[in-house]
């Protein structure tokens, strides 16, 4: 049953189980050396790129920080960018904890967004106290359905989740083209970018910062949903029998099976849960930011999520910190481009090296610690 082996990356089991929130904080504080180091290395490499392209790295980075945190408005925008990253980060992390590599957070997010956007427009006239729960529920269900397919194919047919999630990420992109360009969701008078009908007022997450405090802030109530999701993630994994079983499968599927935990069932469950987190992220983007679904919206939150989860060591607080960092990159990068004249894609280069160093690092460490330990994420198929 090699296919049940866990990924060798910062997968499950890198820290002792069942910590309290306090312990988790402590653990992350005690062990952030590697994440911090990987970010530092990536920043240095990024600086080299800036230098090579004839620009000033100090100017670039100060513009980045200025852009991300310079004004109260920027801080709220950084938070707006971080919210979907938290949700998709949780989607990747919960799967990691069960020994699965969920590359599909992007697709799950889009399905959640489509489901939420459909419901928000379909029942637009309902009052908020009815409509909002429907939209939230459909967002979560949509993502859970899309993630659940991956778990089912893995459990029933032994299909590697890496393949399925890559394929499903692209599948939904084309389904979305159809739905929004010439399909049932296409809005009657959508100019320019293909989009769906706007959702009803009752489905909009309100902006929580009044204009008197921060003018034109877009920071919306989705931040509470994201915070709640982080708590659910922690409570589920470390305070419920199901979470214990999921982590047991992640630590060793065969041992878990010996103990009477059905790995196949739990793989389906965890992929549905993962999809639910990502789907909620999509719902929040629709309800909190855009008010409708745009074709090609949220280009890369699901992919950044892999870096967020790995950088956050799949722990609740780690994910929050990592999402904030990447949110700052996203928002600060735009400012850096307009004010320092350095392409915001510098941020992508930095993110890539963060990920690359983490990938290489875990193995460097596992080389020194235990040589015949785990197998890597299994073959692509």
């Amino acid at each position: 049953m090699t296919q049940l082996q866990q990924p060798a990356t910062t997968g499950p089991g890198t820290e002792s189980p069942a910590p309290s929130v306090g312990q988790l904080t402590f653990q992350w504080a005690a062990g952030p050396a590697i994440p911090v180091l990987s970010v530092a290395i990536a920043l240095v490499i990024g600086a080299v790129f800036v230098l090579l392209s004839g620009n000033d790295p100090v100017a670039a980075y100060s513009a980045l920080v200025q852009g991300a945190f310079g004004t109260p408005y920027d801080i709220t925008e950084t938070l707006v960018s971080a919210i979907p990253l938290v949700l998709t980060g949780l989607a990747v992390a919960v799967a990691f904890r069960t020994g699965l590599f969920n590359i599909g957070a992007q697709g799950q997010l889009l399905v959640g967004a489509l489901a939420a956007g459909w419901a928000g427009a379909q029942f637009a006239t309902l009052p908020g106290f009815l409509l909002m729960p429907i939209v939230i529920l459909l967002g979560i269900t949509g993502g859970a359905f899309y993630g659940g397919i991956v778990g089912l194919l893995k459990a029933l047919r032994g299909v590697n989740e890496v393949i399925t999630t890559i394929m499903l990420n692209y599948t939904i992109v084309f389904v979305m083209h159809w739905l929004l360009q010439a399909g049932p969701m296409t809005a009657q008078n959508a100019f320019g970018t293909p989009a769906s009908t706007p959702i009803g007022a009752g489905a909009r997450l309100p902006v929580i910062i009044p204009n008197e405090l921060v003018l034109f802030s877009r920071l919306h109530a989705g931040i509470f949903l994201a915070a709640l999701a982080v708590v659910v993630f922690w409570f589920l994994l470390w305070r419920t029998p199901l979470g214990y079983q999921l982590r047991a499968v992640g630590l060793g599927a065969r041992a878990a099976a010996q103990a009477g935990i059905d790995p196949a069932l739990h793989m389906v469950l965890v992929m549905a849960i993962a999809g639910g987190f990502a789907g909620l992220g999509g719902m929040i983007e629709v309800s909190g930011v855009f008010g409708r679904v745009y074709d090609g919206f949220s280009s890369s939150y699901g992919f950044d999520a892999i870096a967020v989860a790995l950088l956050g060591k799949n722990s609740p607080l780690g994910i929050v910190f990592a999402a904030l960092l990447f949110g700052a990159f996203v928002h600060g990068g735009a400012y850096m481009q307009s004010h320092a004249g350095i392409s915001s894609n510098l941020v992508a280069i930095i993110q890539a090296f963060v990920l690359f160093v983490i990938a290489a690092e875990t193995l460097v460490r596992s080389l020194t610690r235990r040589r015949h330990g785990r197998k890597p994420v299994e073959a692509i198929a």
Binding site: F49, Y170, F174, W178, A359
Partner: protein, 315 residues
Amino acid sequence: MTWEMLVGASVLAATLRLATPIALAALGGTMSERSGVVNIALEGSMLVGCFFGVVVADRSHNIWLALAAALLAGLLLAALHAYASITLRADQIVSGMALNILALGLTTYLDYEMYGTTGTPSDLVAVPDLHLTFLNGIPYVGTAIGDQNWIVWVGLLLVAALQVFLFRTVLGLRWRAVGEHPRAAETVGVNVRRMRYAAVLASGALAALGGAYLSLGVAHSFTDGMTGGRGFIGLAAMIFGRWTPVGALGASLIFGYGNALSTSLQGATVGGVRLPVQLLGTLPYILTILAVAGFVGRSRAPAADGLPYETEGHA
């Protein structure tokens, strides 16, 4: 909807054109995974091939140098993947994802720094089409294959050559042995590590040739993210083609045909209903999932695919 839209010569010509970059990426994937290394950085290799081919074409006005630069760029990106996954035994999926992000970020960054918002120059040297004038008079065939790009033909040759190489030569047998059972291969004297490095580097160069085809052969320019996931479709074609070069070509042709149809059927109606052509784009991915799940044929990866290898006694 007419027959012309379904099987017209121009649709077949488009099929071949669209299948070529997919097939080259799939060939790269096949070579790499046959040796036991999963390379999802094919997309990235393709993209850097696109970009650096254009940059050198612009600077040198020499198409051979441009092609060499494209292949070298793809090869260098693959070298990073090889170092991480073979030497450091890093997680091959994470490394591949990182390199894809890097390729997209790097090319977009440099594109902005070098060409700003004006785009790449319009007078780039290009890889020419091969005009088969003797086919001119022949209906259908002339249109279908008479004016394809040189790289299309090179790609077809590579498919044949690599099929023979993998399945009819001693070195090819060793190559596959390393992907199926590296310990056994090493026992009989095959250098697993060297073989895998060669495989990953080759996969990067093959994918980059697909990238060069897109930028230097077809578009004659570079636009950000212009590979548009073709490296991933290539992975799908590799799986659907059961990890063989000829199978990969077959799968690529099916995917390319679906692609061609989604253009030729644009706006077409059947019984007054407009065809949802966008959904044709899902074809490669759904077929691949079905193939891997065993619903359409059977698709099995090399046994040691994705597993790092450690020489005995090294521990």
